[in-house]
Structure formats: C-alpha cells, structure tokens
Symmetry: C2
C-alpha cells in the first residue's frame, strides 16, 4: 500500500476523467476515490495537469493489452479485427446506456488549448490507434484497390467511430452508432468488391 500509491492515483483519475471529464473532476474527487491524502498526491505530482499526462501515458502504454487484445481475441481475419474493435466501443456504449465516451476523444474536445505535453499525448494515443487499424487493413491489402491510402482508411475508421460515439451519446440512442458503423461496412464492401472486379 505504499509504492502503488501513485498507481492508485492514476487509476482513480483515469476513471474519473472518463466518467466526468477533466475539468469537472476535482483533486478532492481523486483523493477520495483513490483513498490518498492531499500530501501524497502532491508528493508524486506537481499539479492536476501532471496527473492528466500520467493518465494519457497509461492509455498510450495500455492500448495493446487493454484495448486491442481483448477486442481481437480469437479473431483471425484482419478486416474483422477492425470491426471487432468497433464492436467493443458499441458494447461500452450499450453497457453504459449510451453514456460512454471514448476517453481520448472526450478529452481532445474538452481541452481547448491544451499544453503541449497534453496535446502530444492525445495525438500519440490517436496515432497508436490508427497505426493498429492501418496494420490490419494493410494485412488485407490484396482485397483493396491497388491505390488504396491505408492510413487515410484507418483514420476514416477512427473518425467514424468518434463521430458515432458522439451521436449515440448525444441522442442516447445506439442506433446512431450502428448506422455509422453500417456506413463504414458498406464502404469497406464497396472497396473490396471493386478490387474483385478488377
């Protein structure tokens, strides 16, 4: 219960930032949830923003073990891995009555002028997500037209997911997310069909 104090703080902050956002989470909230006293938090972190950077580092470092591996367990086909990842976001939405938000996306739009370290960590998180998706579509490169921009395609997946989460949350209706993903699936089908025709 001593050296993991820092980790308890980061974990509590991660949950609270996800549940309530950064601005609406007070230091007192973090202390209460992590069962840590003020003095200890400020021993590890100069201030609240440094807790945020630690949280963003945790997301970045955990994207494989915490997000991709759970989503991809047992799935072989690279394209289906992409949609299995999206299905994970759908599940999170359903389980939270469409209250869930992608933690990185929410922070990205909440923080209007983030200090450089914060912004760069958010960008690093998005970049890692896109790189993982890009690797999958690239692994199925033979199904796509020869001139396919795989990075842009992977970014499209991220954009549609983030947009779909935003709409589902705002309307409190998973159908918005489902329509978003259906449109993406249709786009993928059209691309692969185009290749088969060629």
């Amino acid at each position: 219960m001593n050296k993991d104090t820092r980790q308890r703080i980061v974990e509590a902050a991660r949950e609270l930032f996800w549940l309530k956002g950064y601005g609406s989470t007070s230091i007192a909230d973090i202390l209460s949830r992590s069962q840590v006293n003020s003095g200890s938090l400020y021993y590890f972190f100069p201030g609240k923003q440094d807790v945020l950077t630690a949280v963003l580092e945790a997301y970045r470092d955990g994207i494989g073990a915490m997000l991709l591996e759970p989503a991809w367990g047992g799935i072989e086909d690279p394209v289906e891995k992409v949609f299995a990842l999206l299905a994970l976001y759908r599940r999170a939405l359903v389980e939270t009555d469409c209250t869930y938000g992608c933690p990185i996306g929410s922070l990205a739009l909440e923080l209007h002028e983030p200090d450089p370290p914060v912004r760069e960590l958010m960008a690093a998180n998005f970049a890692a997500w896109v790189a993982a998706v890009e690797a999958q579509v690239r692994a199925a490169a033979d199904r796509f037209p020869a001139n396919t921009d795989f990075r842009a395609l992977a970014e499209l997946v991220l954009n549609v997911m983030e947009g779909g989460v935003m709409q589902a949350r705002t309307f409190r209706d998973i159908a918005h997310f489902d329509r978003a993903i259906a449109q993406l699936r249709a786009h993928f089908d059209a691309l692969t069909e185009k290749q088969r025709a060629a």
Copy 2:
C-alpha cells in the same frame, strides 16, 4: 443598450463557450466580455446553465442564416453543397490554426451528464444539420443506388466532419481533416459510380 443586454450576454457566452468550453468559462468571463453586471445577468437567467441553453437555442435557430446560407451561396449542385459546407469547417480550422472546434461537437463531448434540456438542444442542433445534408443528397437521389439510406449517409457526413475536426485539432494539422474529407468524397464517388453502372 437595454433590451439587447440579454442578447449581448448570449453572444459573449457563445463566443466564450466556443473558445474555452463551457466549464472553463466563468460567469465573470461572460460579464467582462459582454460589459454587463452580475445583477443584470441573473435578472435574465436563473443560472449559468440557462445561459448555455440560450446559446444552444441561438445556434439551432441560426443554422440556416449563419451556417448553411453562407456555405451555399452561389452553389447549385446538391452534392457540391454538402462539400461546400465541409469546406466552411475547413476554412474555420485554417483560420484558427487548427484550434477551431465545432461548437456543438465540443460541448457534446465536454458535458458528460448534461441535464435533459441541454442534451436535447445539442441533439436538435445535430438533427437540424443532418436534416439539411439529407435534403441535399435526397435532391440528388437519382445519382445514388436505389436502396441508399439517405439519413445514414447524411449522418456519415456529420460523423466524418466531427472526427476530422477532432483529429486536425489534436494534431494541429489540417491534413488530417483533408484526408477525412477525401475519404468521404471517394465514398460518394463510389456510390454514384455504382448507380451509373446499374
């Protein structure tokens, strides 16, 4: 300078919520920017959240005159109207060094548990935007396959725009937005080509 006091408050709040977000904008900020005193603001509004609903109502009521008409001036083709609307968002991003955020999208992700009136007004704003885009693609219905889901297509436009804005802001790089729109254009081209082939 008396009956427009309320309007000055709403306008100042609109700008500040857009620049800094809702949580980071204080009542004192709004008073200072609108040159209004505390007593006057609380004469018109019970509290800060009521200022937010007034701002969201202003966005909803102004979507035609403030957003669509400026975007569509001189453009006839319905599909090009859709992309002209997206070009307006691009311009806003470029002019603000990729600091711009869609005001509704930012609020939608910042406010994690918005009270019903706030959430419904955000939804009404998105719905009006989507309806406007849907009307355009429907006006070009003959170019799309017969089974096209025009609402879902219009929602895709919104989702890609919101995602593209999020990425461009986070990376401070308009190329992210441009790739997002290019993917959307490719999707439209594929749909209309499919129809021509049929």
